[in-house]
Amino acid sequence: MNENREGTEQGHTVPTGKGRLRIPPRRQLVALAAAGFFLLCACSVTTIRAGNWVAGILAGSGSGTSGSGSAEAAEWPANSAELTVAVSPLMAATLRDRADSFNSQGVRTSDGELMQIELVTRSSRDMVEESLSQPVYQAVTPDSSLWLWLIDQRWAQLFPEEGGSLQASRVGRSTLFAVSPVVIAVQLDAAQQMGWPQQSIGWEEVQVRAASASGAFRWGHPGPSSMPGIAATLSKFYVGAGITRGLTVETATLPDVMEYVRLAESAAYVSSAGRGGRSPAGGGENRAVGADGGFLDAFVTQEQAVIAWNQGSDRDLSPLSGLDGIGQLLPDGQLVAIYPREGTVWVDHPLALLELDGRAGPAVTPNQRSTYRAFTEFLLSEESQSALLEAGFRPVDATIDLMEAPSPFAETGAVNPLLPLTLMQLPSQPVLEIVMEAWRLSAPPANILLVVDTSESMEGGKLARTKAALHGFVDQIQGDRSRVGLVEFGSGVKRFEALRLLDAEGRKQISLLIEGLEAGGSTSLLDAVWAAHGELGDLAEVDASYAIVVLTDGRDNDSEHRLRSLQRAMTGAANPVSVHTVAFGRDADEGLLEELARMGGGRFYRADETTIEEVYRQIAASLQLGSDG
């Protein structure tokens, strides 16, 4: 081989069988070598990374896996040390303070990941629903351990085959860090008129006073998405049945008891998240709260709220009720805590790690477990326990004396840390379900239009699962006062079936309509929503709720109406219509559906053929609970 030691431009040639091959000069050779080296390395690394990615997908850990039935995708890296906690409104502000303090410490895991706590606020009842699929959080702090128990009950019903000496649990170990009893917070003057503090006062006195014709006493409580709401509602069953324990399904459903509960519900202001409260109203008719501008004399809440109110640190109470401005309904005076004579329950704020096992999304990572442990230790530390006491909670470290200054319990007669003396017995699950649905006895009816995509792509299994989900949805809507209609769309609106009352006949008709759905055509999503909204938005029925539930598996490709015009129509409608959207499968236009749900003040859900029924069940439950906002 010849070399041109001087040449830089000229190449060398070597003889070959086919002629002379140019030999590059030395520098070019080095450059070529470097480029080759680089290319080979890049190709190899890319191949390895791609291989890993494919392996990850095959192993089910790919990022392509998304949760279902949830408004947001649940994804986190395998080494994530960020723990997202769903917290109930009753504890949200205080836990935010604790989380900030924890985060500021910069604690790291053994592999150097920063431990962080993120909070999302959910009603306790929503936590139960969401925890059964793949939530965006790994831990929960509902207002009571009761909800954890319900999660596990439901989980066991979903996966009965996972046995053992103890049934598999969705909820891992839980830790209590602060508690507060449920009390009736009564305005001081009103309490004194009832004989406080000399006389013990019970649920019965409050309900009797509220039901009196004079209307001089008004009380309220949250809806059954929180423990105070359940306690207040349950008290009506106990008083109605004339017992203090042993409430059975038979007793709870006695006509006299149901009638008492209905009247008691009507005589109380009941608030629930996302829906206007219902004020006590004559003749059993509910009116929007504030229509008569009245104040409440009492509100069922946790003891901590009484302390916070009296300290002036929280005069809103909206987190406690789920309704903005509830604090304005109470007079600006001192409140006292009544520990009902018949017994009460506790909000015990358990912090529990969910055993997300990777079957529907990413599993809880070892680092997140470490963060959970570190955060629970932090919440049980002297610093946090003192901070919780200062906020008006009873810390679980019972060696902390509640009556020793500067405890907020020390110098106030408004609360009594040696109470309550007795317990309101929580009944069995079937009775509890009845109690939690009791609001329906006086709830306004719902008008719901089911907007269903039956374009060609829905052919086969998808349509079959959708029909099953729609049947389940209708079954879930209780009572005979609500109405449901059906809008089937493909290439335009294929069928518009007006609202039908859900009595026995109406249910039969709806069932037949669902069975009659047939796939074919393109996707005119916006035209269908437009038609449904036009129907509901102009209904003149007073004291009812209105909702549209939209499902599609594809993209709008055939509508005359545009999103902007639909938005204008929604804004100008006579009735507020909530819009809930379901993206069925991976090809659905999630962006458009999310935007529709946002515009309609509803929620966006993802579903596939295995989760579609559960998603519709969740929507039905949320529509009836009023947590549709």
Partner: protein, 418 residues
Amino acid sequence: MNRTRLFIVAVLSASALFVVGVLVWRTIGVGAGGPDAAATSPGVVRIQVIAALPVEQWVRAAAEEFGATGIGPDNAIIEVEVLPLDGLVALGKWERNEFSALKAGTLPEDRTLGASESLSSFPAAWIADSRDLVDMANESSREHFGQDRFLSDGQYRMRSLAKTLLVWGLFRSRQAPLLENLGPLSWDTVHKAAVAPTGWKELGGDPAWGNFKLAVADSGQSVSGPAAILTAAGEFFDRTEVTVEDLSDPGFGSWLAELMEATSGFGGGGTSAAESVAVFGYTAGDGGQFLESDLLQSMEGIQTRWREPVVLHYPRVTTWFDFPYAIWVGPETTALEKNAAQAFQEFLLSEEQQRRALEFGLRPADPNVQLDAVAGSLFGRWQRLGVHGEGLHVEEMNPTTRDLLTALTRWRELNEGR
């Protein structure tokens, strides 16, 4: 080989070397940066030990001391991570293989990378509440692996660490009226109190106390729950051996259902019945059956929060818990980890740690350590509340079996609401 070919071969070799180097570096890097970083660092052995809840605090404190003692066997520094789990919960996890033990016939070297990572946190030992739980886990092991995974003899045999028992506890204000009206505490006494239609009004107490409330661990969430029910059955049938047929007896079933009607439903999820009484006071129970150690640990809190103590009474028949430390002998843990687990077992059985157990209300397994051996012994501190020290004579219930647990679960599903 001409120069050009040599060059190409050199470039290819260098590339291959680089890629291999990157892979090796990543493997080492991931290992070093993973959650089990310490396990792969030379000289450090990290083990995970499941601890029953009643001994958690003692074991956790001991683990910290143990880590500070320096070099252990095999010239390694041992770090113990304590995983607190109720015995029933842990048993369920073993039975469902939630720790991902290898299938029979699988060798550690056959493991995939992911499986190896999951085994890095495999528990090296289990401190169960009682020996019968370990026996049940072994039954399950035999079904899955053809052999026991926790041994009762040999180098890695299980050894009891400490003891405690189920005792009665009653708020002092409730004690006088109840005992005066119904006689000495027993399940029969408690049953009579539970079914009193007007509650404390007819039991001679303050009517404001409401109904009699019974504190007892949730039988579905805590190992002491089923144990309490079995002692109740033992008293009902007046024998220490209860059978599945006994639990199916209609007379016993309705008696038990009435009794359970008085339970408050607190506890579970890591909170003992005694802790519940400390936090929730009378609403959790005017009295009840507790683990002695739990009650002694919670006593200060009970007195501070509710301004009165809970007084102890010892039942005629009861259940003991002996907290066996059982080392996993399967291939999922290395010899180093097994030895580390054994070293920690020895440490817990050392005289110093046995004495420390007294500060947590636990009766030492070492018969040479007296209950008043240290100044901080809770037995000495709460003696005035009825704590029995040495020479305690109570009859012991026979061990729980899987069939009994299953029967109890079935009964609970049929009868017990929340």
